[in-house]
């Protein structure tokens, strides 16, 4: 049996015009606050809290989120995920997400900071029903070390599997192992330090959305590098190589604003954390 360091299970449902908690359970090193309602759309916003402040050697975290039909949830963290050195066992985090028909999940956690000699394995599995929407982002920083050296962690592995009606539609797998790779070389980080990923799956993603994105975001900037491409089903992936978390957040924000305005007729949202 797996001994979890932290467990968090959340199930939300839509009651009249508002998304509310149907069921919530947390244990160990995870906590979640009561939902905030940041605008008048009825979308619930939850902050995931790691009271210990960071992930330690051998920690195992399990999260599961279920959105009932037409529920709308904005999920984020209270602060960056810090992974301290893991001399014995990598830190593992596994997340299962179920999006029922018509539900909308915006899952935008804070950046990941892997410390000197840290190993981290993250796996997200998202099961979507027809008509649901997923907006997912993550940001990987070059980590932290006492002497200020970048990429001094051992390995960070991020895996995303997305299923639409039980069929695999996205398989995203990044694994950075600075010791075995030339991080600054061609094909890897190419002189940049931060990596941002955004995956969006939605029936509302029309093929001209990427054109709009190209008009909104400066794709030719030399201070960051962006790639964006359509998935095999309506939706897209956006990847950014940049030199700061803020740069990536601004690009995600621009994209997010476009999505909210065009698909959901919603105002932009600002996550008030600090």
């Amino acid at each position: 049996m797996v001994n979890w360091t932290g467990i968090l299970n959340l199930n939300v449902e839509k009651k009249e015009d508002k998304t509310i908690t149907k069921d919530v359970y947390f244990q160990g090193a995870f906590k979640i606050m009561r939902p905030a309602y940041l605008d008048k759309t009825g979308q619930a916003c939850f902050y995931i809290i790691n009271p210990g402040g960071g992930y330690l050697d051998g920690d195992r975290y399990s999260m599961s989120f279920t959105l009932d039909e037409h529920a709308e949830l904005l999920l984020t963290t209270q602060s960056a995920t810090k992974i301290y050195k893991t001399p014995n066992q990598p830190v593992v985090q596994e997340t299962e997400i179920l999006l029922k028909a018509g539900s909308v999940l915006e899952y935008m956690p804070d950046p990941l900071i892997a410390y000197h000699r840290a190993r981290y394995k993250q796996k997200n599995v998202v099961r979507m029903e027809k008509g649901s929407t997923l907006i997912y982002t993550d940001i990987m920083t070059p980590g932290w070390s006492p002497d200020g050296e970048w990429f001094s962690y051992d390995s960070v592995q991020l895996k995303n599997e997305i299923y639409m009606e039980d069929k695999l539609v996205v398989f995203d797998h990044m694994k950075l192992e600075p010791e075995c790779q030339n991080m600054q070389g061609i094909g890897q980080m190419e002189g940049f330090t931060h990596l941002g990923s955004m995956i969006v799956v939605s029936e509302k993603a029309a093929s001209d959305f990427l054109d709009m994105l190209y008009e909104t975001i400066d794709m030719t900037s030399q201070t960051y590098k962006i790639g964006v491409s359509s998935l095999s089903i309506p939706g897209f992936t956006l990847r950014v190589l940049a030199t700061s978390t803020q740069q990536i957040e601004e690009i995600f924000m621009a994209c997010h604003r476009l999505i909210r305005a065009n698909w959901f007729d919603k105002q932009p949202i600002f996550l008030r954390k600090y």
Binding site: L168, F171, E190, I226, G227, L231, L241
Partner: protein, 229 residues
């Protein structure tokens, strides 16, 4: 002489009309950004592409298909792999290149050889149940010809690499001799890649490098393109 030798050479020949000559897998983006411009910079890209992408995707899929056929596993496992190798490719052009080249190699294989796996696969693609991928088709044909596993894996990688070298000769451009030198120099990398693939576990499937993937995505919007990916 091994019975499979000449057939295997035919299968790896860059004249085999699978459409490989029109795909650069993001190389063209680097050429236009002036990051790949000569023999040295191209060799460097090719090594990274082999070690950081092909090993975990196409090369691994080739090995897994071969293993599954050898073990007489249920075909559902191969169809599942076909979906995984297709969906792990987030850049659209690279994903579509795999589908197109896979189907062309499949149709060609059916015209040359007669064994049930190929027509089963083709049938699923026609019904839009599967997607098609050259790594899977190559492994099916190689195993049918009696090619040993390691030979199948290294010749599959060789055919991919030699196709890219030819494209680089045209696209950068490089001299023909330089191209052949790069191929010779790639041999030791290929041997290492095959060993690496053999040591992988399922958890390693589909790893990509950020820069390689980004250049494949950016290719969609290049102003001048001589390649389709």
């Amino acid at each position: 002489m091994d019975n499979y030798l000449l057939s295997l050479i035919q299968l790896c020949d860059s004249n085999l009309p699978t459409g490989a000559f029109s795909h650069s897998f993001g190389l063209e983006t680097y050429i236009q950004e002036d990051r790949v411009f000569d023999k040295k910079t191209f060799s460097n890209w090719l090594k990274v592409f082999l070690e950081e992408q092909l090993v975990y995707s196409d090369g691994f899929a080739c090995r897994l298909t071969y293993d599954m056929l050898e073990e007489g596993r249920d075909f559902q496992d191969i169809w599942r792999l076909d979906r995984m190798i297709t969906m792990q490719s987030l850049p659209r052009e690279t994903r579509e290149a795999g589908q197109k080249m896979g189907e062309r190699m499949l149709v060609l294989g059916m015209a040359l050889y007669d064994f049930p796996e190929l027509s089963l696969y083709k049938d699923r693609i026609d019904k839009m149940l599967s997607f098609g991928h050259p790594a899977i088709v190559f492994a099916m044909i190689a195993r049918h010809l009696g090619v040993p596993k390691f030979t199948a894996m290294s010749t599959f990688l060789y055919s991919t690499i030699s196709g890219l070298v030819q494209n680089a000769v045209r696209g950068i451009p490089l001299g023909q001799t330089a191209g052949q030198q790069i191929l010779i120099e790639s041999q030791s990398h290929l041997v290492d890649a095959v060993k690496k693939i053999d040591s992988l576990s399922e958890d390693d499937f589909g790893v990509t490098s950020p820069g390689l993937e980004l250049s494949q995505m950016k290719h969609e919007r290049l102003n001048i393109r001589i390649f389709m990916s």
